[in-house]
Amino acid sequence: MSIASTTVNENSTVAEPKASADELPPVLIDTSDVNFYYGDFHALKSVSLPLYANRITAMIGPSGCGKSTFLRVLNRMNEEMASDTRLEGRVLLQGQDIYAPVVDKSTLRKRIGMVFQRPNPFPKSIFDNVAYGPTLDARPNRRTLEELVERSLQQAALWDEVKDKLKQSALALSGGQQQRLCIARALATRPEVILMDEPCSALDPNSTNRIEELMLELKKEYTIAIVTHNMQQAARVSDFTAFFLKGVVMEFGPTERLFTSPEKKETDDYIRGRFG
């Protein structure tokens, strides 16, 4: 734990409560005035949040506050799981509207990868799980593919544990290993952004620790958005934090500032554990 928090502090360039605009890293994904509906249910209300490049942005808030919905707005996964969804507002990836009609959802999701709440490896071998994305529309030669799989597994800090059993079923791995495999699987499509939906909620503390360390390593190359129920986790790993409540972003800012001197009373109540 202590290692993790030190790393945050060392790497953090945004620790100052009122950092001026030119000290901020560039914005990779920008959302402005996003409203999202499941049928009649207004799940997100006028949300505007930036995701800064090579930073970890955490979404916290009580159950049903819209934080997962927001995450799934970013790679349009909401449309897969429910019919009758509607979005207003703009979501821009490097200036391109990801809800524009010309946008292909598959291509979008290869650029914005996702890691789910429960590890969900396919019932295939470890190798085939990681090779899944890269072989969807291309036929890379064996060597390229092997290199890609190895590099992804190394990035996910799983290589050393599985390099001798790549042909074995992914379902034989432990929960924490499975989740790192799912991260490797997402990395293999060479995304720019990784969305993580409570990636540690189904894991033991040890595995959680490893994933958190991994995230800090990954942000050197990737932009990460994480939804978490665990406020300590948000405090430990993230650079920016957004506090969601009833579909609204109550407060957004550098993590340290938000946790030490929140501006809103609701934020203060929540991080002190008074509700949620």
Partner: protein, 694 residues
């Protein structure tokens, strides 16, 4: 406000969000989606086509024949000229026979089926449940022609001797044999309904101090009542649409009591006599709708009024089973919606359970009697002892019991006994009667002397050909239709209509499938093929393997669709989510993740469908099967075939001078084949359920 990030590290990452796949692969995916969506509609199309074509062939009757005389006519005499120079095509005796046979079957099968279901769902220890359910499923797999054979060889003669009937081929024989067939249907679906009752209300009742039986009676029965009603309706649908059994064991004539009941013969002026007549009818021959179509269709010339009249019977059958299935489906939906039922359900289902016990005693006594003068009853005592142990020694896991509970368990156990024993008896009887016949020569040679001697090689090959052809046609279509339902379709009226169509397609009587195959495949498609191939002599307008397989494929399509859909739905949503989250399209997700995970389940469905196609007779009567061939080779698609079920029917009813050993031999081979296929499916499914890791 947003600044682009330089991505020197990601040289190969596309900066565009538009579809980067080739035009070809996008086009291919569109085609695949189209094929799957179209396959999803096939059930509706087939039900509509069956109705339209049968109706189209039936309708011309009404232009030359008064409708009232058909629907209210009390005589069926198609070959003699009656009033006005027209033959008599009276529906009443046929409908009456069908209804009485079905009523008799239901009266026997409902108590036994319900008692069996309650025993398995509530009394049997959980570890025996899969075995008992598998056994019931195996009973459901016995081909109807084999049941008919048993009715002719054993049950009929026994009833004749025991009760002094004029013949063994009676309405009662038909009812009992049909009951053997309806029991598994009723038991399986009722058991599902009972097992689906939520655990919490069961626990609530026990928590309030109710005994186990009080809980079953007062809480579980009302909650499961609609499901049991649906089970009974489906059992009725099977019984009324069944062809081979009634064709073989009910004599195909109209008895004196039926004639009196209809007022054709004098003697029915007061209600009491009518009542006596109904009972008397069970001791006499009868002539059902299905048997009439099956026995007469082979002899009529298309275009004759007789031909149209038989299709009109097909329409009547289709409409009856459609209504029955519609009601059953409605009742099943109610089960899912409503938790509470009436108090009447408690009393009635308890009554059925007791009745099941009484029938169980009767059936056991009858079987012991039958074993005395029929081959193969030697093991009966042993079986009774084993099953009695199963019933009385194995205690339920529930702790709070009173004497009345034990009495009810005994009734339920006896009901189970009566449901299982007759078919086990049948199996023993056929095994002992036929195993001496199983020589290499019998299995490989062609039949000789009109089927009275020789082997059954061509029949085995023909049946294998039909099985292969059927699954080749039904599997791709059924899998695509199931993919549509589980992965593509959104809830709505269209999906509702498709499910309704599948239920009804599964309930269409097999003889109606046979009529459909005759008119659509053999006559219509065959005509076109011969025209385009410029065949001087008809090739495709004959009975051929292909037409038989096509007809059977439509018959087994609902099995393939429902089992495949179940397999697809059991693949966790998180697999799909994971795949889509990595940028896979819907079809890529299905092909690379969902289908591979569902393969064992799909295979089980395919095997069940193969087993069904091996045992069916009525659908191939007019489309594929012939009585004689000497060709001991795998038949080609355009060749007529000898098939085991039809060959058994033919030898038993036409080649009567054949030895019993020969007849039993054919029955044994057919039963063995069907059982092997079905046991494979059951074992595969059990292994699959145990091995599933997600």
């Amino acid at each position: 406000m947003s600044t682009a990030v330089s991505n020197a590290d990601r040289s190969n990452a596309s900066l565009s969000l538009t579809d980067s796949r080739t035009r070809l692969s996008r086009f291919r995916e569109k085609i695949i989606n189209g094929v799957i969506t179209a396959s999803g509609m096939t059930s509706i199309v087939f039900v509509a086509l069956i109705f339209l074509f049968i109706f189209k062939e039936a309708f011309p009757l009404l232009s030359t024949y008064p409708a009232a005389r058909f629907f209210f006519g009390r005589e069926w005499a198609p070959t003699t000229e009656g009033v006005g120079g027209l033959p008599d095509y009276g529906l009443v005796p046929l409908l009456l026979s069908s209804v009485l046979v079905t009523l008799g079957a239901v009266a026997l099968a409902v108590p036994l089926g319900v008692a069996t279901a309650v025993y398995i769902a509530e009394v049997a220890p959980p570890r025996f449940r899969p075995t008992l359910k598998a056994l019931i499923e195996l009973l459901a797999a016995v081909p109807s022609v084999v049941l008919g054979f048993f009715g002719m060889m054993v049950l009929g003669p026994y009833l004749q001797a025991r009760f002094g009937f004029a013949t063994g081929d009676t309405l009662l024989t038909g009812s009992i044999t049909l009951a053997l067939m309806a029991v598994p249907t009723i038991a399986t679906i009722s058991e599902d309904a009972l097992a689906a009752v939520p655990r919490d209300i069961r626990e609530a009742s026990l928590g309030l101090g109710a005994t186990h039986w009080q809980t079953v009676r007062n809480v579980i029965f009302p909650a499961a009542a609609s499901g049991v009603v649906a089970a009974v309706m489906l059992g009725v649908g099977r019984a009324i649409g069944e062809t081979m059994v009634v064709l073989m064991v009910t004599g195909n004539g109209v008895g004196i009591n039926l004639l009196q009941l209809m007022g054709v013969m004098p003697g029915t002026n007061n209600p009491l006599t009518a009542f006596q007549n109904v009972f008397g009818a069970y001791a006499e021959v009868c002539r059902t709708l299905t048997a009439t179509v099956a026995s007469e269709m082979g002899e009529v010339v298309p275009g004759q009024s007789h031909y149209h009249a038989l299709f009109m019977l097909g329409v009547v059958l289709f409409v009856i089973t459609f209504l029955i299935n519609f009601t059953a489906d409605f009742a099943l939906k109610r089960t899912r919606d409503v938790r509470s039922g009436s108090g009447g359900a408690s009393a009635f289902l308890s009554f059925l359970a007791v009745l099941g016990g009484v029938l169980g005693i009767g059936v056991t006594i009858a079987l012991v009697g039958m074993a005395g003068d029929a081959a193969g009853g030697l093991g009966i005592g042993l079986l009774v002892a084993t099953l009695a142990l199963l019933v009385f020694l194995i205690r339920p896991t529930i702790t709070y019991r009173r004497p009345i509970d034990y009495a009810m368990y005994a009734c339920l156990g006896l009901g189970l006994l009566a449901a299982l024993l007759p078919t086990l008896f049948l199996f023993g009887n056929i095994l002992i009667g036929g195993f001496r016949q199983l020589t290499p020569g019998f299995l490989t040679q062609a039949p000789s002397d009109g089927g009275t001697a020789g082997g059954i090689g061509p029949a085995i090959l023909g049946t294998l050909g039909l099985m292969f052809g059927t699954i080749l046609l039904a599997l791709p279509l059924g899998i695509c239709a199931a993919i549509y339902l589980s992965e593509f379709a959104k809830k709505g009226p269209l999906v509702g209509a498709i499910r309704m169509a599948i239920v009804n397609l599964a309930g269409v009587p097999s003889i109606v499938h046979g009529l459909f195959g005759l008119i659509v495949f053999k006559t219509f498609l065959g005509g076109w093929l011969d025209y385009f191939a410029r065949n001087s002599t008809p090739v495709w307008q004959n009975r051929t393997l292909l037409w038989g397989a096509a007809t059977l494929a439509i018959l087994v399509l609902p099995i393939v669709i429902t089992t495949t859909e179940e397999a697809l739905l059991s693949v966790p949503a998180s697999f799909r989510e994971g795949s889509v989250g990595l940028g896979a399209t819907r079809w890529q997700t299905i092909r690379r993740v969902v289908l591979p995970a569902a393969i064992p389940g799909i295979l089980t469905g395919a095997i069940l469908a193969i087993g069904r196609s091996a045992g069916e007779t009525a659908p191939i009567l007019f489309t594929a099967a012939v009585t004689f061939t000497t060709d001991v080779r795998l038949p080609s698609p355009d060749a007529p075939v000898l098939a085991l079920p039809y060959h058994l029917y033919y030898v038993v009813t036409q080649a009567t001078q054949a030895s019993d050993g020969l007849k039993y031999g054919i029955a044994l081979v057919l039963l063995g084949l069907v059982f092997t296929v079905n046991i494979t499916a059951i074992l595969l499914r059990t292994r699959l359920r145990r091995a599933r890791r997600w």
